[in-house]
């Protein structure tokens, strides 16, 4: 089928808009008047890069270990209550990293909550959790569920004949896992590891609350006290290149992942465990669930109750709630509108442009929010002042990073729209637009709605873009949480955190579980 011109033009405009921030940063990077050497001499570029990469490596490795271990335990071993344990181990995913960080910072500062609670036991001061260790801990705890979801689903569908063969050749159970199972999960492992990695290098909230200097934290600090935008542009460009690189590798691994073995796989039977190993495994899982879920929620509850009993007013957080809901709804609405022509083009018309469009849109998923925010900030000041500090600019910026979620969800539902439906429809004399309205839309609206919901949830938790681009007077829950937490006003921060979690936790859980498992 020939692609309608209007569709090509619409998508072309969308594509150009979406690529603008990246191109702008690259253009600014290439046209610096100062020499690059002077940047390396004046600013601690190497330290920041090193810090960012160190955190990336450590969090990816620890998330993979934790996620894989739990996957294997829950999928391959006979453990009573494994369903509920699975749900509880995935749930830390619904906690945004900055909320997680604020609970750890407030609980384990040198004279924080922990010391106050156990002072009767003679504990007066602890070393405190912050810096690299704090960032590593928090990011691991709130990203390993991605690995768990993706790898457990792959593990469930893994054909076990090879393992059986290995076992019959005398390999012990440990060797079967290290030499057979894990190598065969290579692709989901790489995919989920890099997904975690993208999360880590883009993270701004957790590292800034933990006071660990990475590229994202440096970008914001320089934005906060430098008149000259050069370091901000410089670091944003480096970060975006780093992210695109990771995203590129990750996309490659995903394509490979979707190539499935045909036929029904032979599913491995669950292994029974000795009582001693069971105790060990329960202890391990309890520890993880405690650190990733129970502790953060308890600390938040503590601050909330303390705030309420101190008479903190609900009114203070009201503006943030209204602001969050309105921008998130707007972003969701526009994500549906903008993603529809892309979804139709990519799924219904096989063309080169469609393929390029799909690839680029998916690659944008990994763009660090802060870099996109910086680029849009500069573009609106220098090129489009009429939309500077406007909702338009903010929503465009959100869509650039969140649209892939809407596209992904919509595309899945588009598979139901068979091309012969449309052929029949046009044979009956319906125009293309009418066919879309009568046939395509009724079939895909659920998918579009799910996509919109994902964008809604992501927007509500978004922090750095909102900080940089918010229209004057707009406040969101994420901004409230971050600014209260960075001032050490945890009772106020807990209030907004609770509302944010109450609205987002369940839908986030449902949608991520659906999206990340096959």
């Amino acid at each position: 089928m020939k692609t309608p011109k209007a569709l090509i033009i619409t998508n072309f405009i969308i594509l150009i808009t979406f690529l603008l921030p990246t191109f702008y940063l690259i253009w600014r990077f290439l046209t610096f008047t100062k020499s690059y050497v002077s940047f390396f001499r004046s600013w601690n570029v190497f330290d920041l890069l090193l810090n960012t990469i160190l955190l990336f490596i450590f969090v990816v490795i620890s998330s993979l270990i934790l996620g894989l271990l739990i996957s294997i335990i829950l999928v391959r071993f006979n453990i009573p209550g494994s369903k509920i344990l699975f749900t509880l181990s995935v749930l830390p995913l619904v906690i945004p990293s900055y909320i997680g960080a604020l609970t750890y910072v407030s609980a384990f500062s040198p004279k924080g909550l922990f010391v106050q609670l156990f002072s009767s036991l003679g504990i007066n001061e602890i070393a405190g959790i912050d810096g690299f260790f704090g960032s590593w801990l928090v990011l691991t705890l709130f990203t390993y569920p991605y690995v768990l979801l993706i790898c457990s689903s792959a593990l469930r569908n893994l054909d076990s004949t090879v393992e059986d063969a290995a076992r019959s050749l005398g390999k012990n159970r440990f060797n079967v896992y290290t030499q057979v199972v894990i190598p065969r999960l290579k692709k989901p492992i790489i995919f989920s590891g890099l997904l975690v990695g993208l999360y880590v290098i883009s993270d701004f909230g957790a590292v800034s609350l933990m006071r660990y200097s990475t590229l994202t934290k440096a970008i914001y600090s320089y934005y906060e006290f430098n008149i000259n935008g050069d370091p901000v542009i410089f670091y944003s460009s480096i970060l975006i290149v780093l992210a695109l690189l990771i995203s590129f590798i990750q996309r490659g691994s995903e394509e490979a992942r979707s190539a499935k073995v045909s036929g029904t796989p032979k599913i491995s039977e669950k292994t029974n465990l000795s009582p001693r190993s069971k105790v060990l495994i329960y202890t391990f899982l309890s520890l993880v669930i405690f650190s990733g879920l129970i502790l953060p929620i308890s600390v938040l509850s503590y601050w909330l109750i303390r705030g309420l009993s101190a008479g903190n007013s609900v009114r203070a957080v009201f503006g943030g709630v209204v602001g969050s809901l309105s921008v998130s709804l707007l972003a969701a609405l526009f994500s549906v509108i903008v993603s529809t022509p892309i979804i139709i083009m990519v799924s219904q018309y096989r063309s080169k442009f469609g393929n390029v469009l799909e690839r680029i849109m998916l690659a944008l998923y990994g763009l660090p929010h802060i870099s996109v925010g910086v680029a849009i900030l500069f573009i609106t000041i220098k090129i489009f002042p009429s939309i500077y500090q406007s909702f338009t600019a903010l929503i465009i910026s959100y869509l650039i990073v969140f649209l892939p979620q809407a596209i992904g969800a919509g595309q899945a539902s588009m598979e139901q729209v068979k091309s012969n439906y449309l052929d029949a429809s046009s044979g009956l004399g319906m125009s293309k637009l009418k066919s879309f309205y009568r046939i395509t839309l009724p079939l895909i609206y659920r998918g579009l709605f799910a996509g919109g919901a994902l964008v809604f949830l992501s927007t509500m938790k978004e922090l750095p873009q909102t900080l940089l681009l918010r229209p004057t007077g707009l406040n969101t829950m994420a901004i409230d949480i971050w600014s209260y937490a960075s001032e050490g006003l945890f009772t106020q921060a807990a209030f907004s955190s609770f509302i944010l979690l109450a609205i987002s936790a369940i839908p986030t859980y449902i949608l991520s579980t659906r999206n990340l498992t096959t």
Partner: protein
């Protein structure tokens, strides 16, 4: 709901703006008609010379009358809407701004951020800035905006409200309250005898692991800029490196340092004086107190202040707002709620404040000269590894 109220205010503002623009438009039309009349006279024959003169006189009178009418209307009531970029924290100024809005009916929108960030933003925005007023917690950020040529010179009667030390020498901004650099100390873990007399004295082994500071704080940057101006780049870079080497605790702002000292987590923090007084006002038994250094940039008393952006379309309202900051009620708010030094003569400083004359701040600081060091200060702080 809140945003709806805001929208209504904005609509009201636009309505008032229209009223104002209409009167200006009328004035312009009159001038235009007069000019057209003059042109006609010039083109006419010699005999009509007298008529031309008459036309000219009429136009001049009409112009004066129109301008006067437009000015009179603006003086009668400040109207329009105002966008304020506030580097001062919401909790410190929101009440004053709300009172101004309520008293004048001006619709006010405020963008809160760090002073330095807003100064940088203003410099980037240039002529397209939506801001009318920049309210800053430190004179360096004001100086940065002044250096970029983005402020209008303020009327003399506004500048004269406060002492000369708290005013920009070229009149681009005016102080609204005073604050002093100080050290907050936990009296349980420190003694007066071990305190240094100036900021360089903090570079001492006895303070290893006991110091706190907020490297991104505008006032800290201002202090470093002052140190570069008076002592030279090298000495400051050395001091920053030495302080970093002693092991310090980094804070995002000043207030958490006082909270940390109060909680016993921090011995000595480099802050502005009023955070400590706020804690003491709430709890007189708190073990924290301020040490005011004896001279040098660590004892600097600086103004928080405000200026009107040249790009503003609402200058009368902007100036009225700055004048409001000098009103008795605003000055009393600054001294009794925020514990700053009032700058307008005749306002009694809060009892917790030291005599401003007893502080040994460097004399005759040139704020615009210090602003030139802002970028260098940021660079030195970053280079020292903070």
């Amino acid at each position: 709901m809140l945003s709806m109220v805001n929208n209504n205010k904005q609509i009201k503002g636009i309505y008032f703006m229209n009223k104002k623009s209409i009167s200006l438009l009328v004035a312009c039309l009159m001038v235009f008609t007069a000019c057209a009349g003059g042109d006609a006279g010039e083109a006419g024959p010699q005999g009509e010379q007298g008529e031309k003169g008459e036309a000219g006189e009429i136009s001049q009178a009409a112009l004066d009358a129109a301008v006067e009418a437009a000015l009179a209307e603006e003086e009668a009531a400040v109207e329009g809407s105002l966008v304020i970029y506030s580097g001062r924290k919401e909790s410190l100024v929101a009440d004053v701004i709300a009172a101004f809005a309520a008293e004048t009916g001006v619709a006010v929108e405020v963008r809160y951020d760090k002073s330095a960030a807003l100064a940088g933003t203003l410099a980037l925005e240039g002529a397209i800035s939506p801001a009318d007023v920049f309210l800053s917690q430190d004179p360096i950020s004001l100086g940065v905006v002044a250096k970029e040529g983005l402020f209008d010179v303020l009327p003399a009667e506004v500048l004269d409200n406060v002492p000369a030390w708290a005013v920009d020498q070229r009149g681009y901004w005016v102080g609204t309250s005073g604050r002093s650099r100080s050290l907050v100390v936990d009296t349980r873990d420190t003694t007066d005898a071990e305190m240094p007399s100036d900021i360089y004295g903090l570079n001492d082994e006895k303070f290893r692991g006991r110091l706190g500071l907020a490297p991104g704080n505008s006032s800290f940057i201002a202090m470093v800029a002052c140190m570069i101006e008076s002592d030279g780049e090298e000495k400051v870079a050395e001091w920053l490196k030495a302080i970093n080497g002693l092991g310090y605790t980094e804070y995002p702002k000043n207030s958490p340092q006082v909270a940390a000292a109060d909680a016993g987590e921090l011995d000595i923090g480099m802050i502005n004086h009023y955070y400590t007084l706020r804690v003491l006002a709430e709890n007189g038994d708190s073990p924290v107190k301020n040490i005011y250094l004896d001279g040098g940039c660590g004892a600097m008393v600086m103004p928080a202040g405000a200026g009107v952006l040249s790009s503003s379309q609402n200058k009368p309202a902007a100036i009225a707002f700055i004048e409001y900051l000098h009103s008795t009620s605003a000055q009393e708010h600054f001294t009794n709620t925020v514990f700053e030094f009032p700058l307008v003569p005749g306002i009694t400083p809060n009892a917790l404040l030291p005599e401003i004359d007893s502080l040994n701040s460097p004399e005759d600081l040139n704020w615009s000269a210090l602003a030139l060091w802002q970028e260098k200060a940021v660079e030195l702080i970053a280079k020292a590894g903070f």
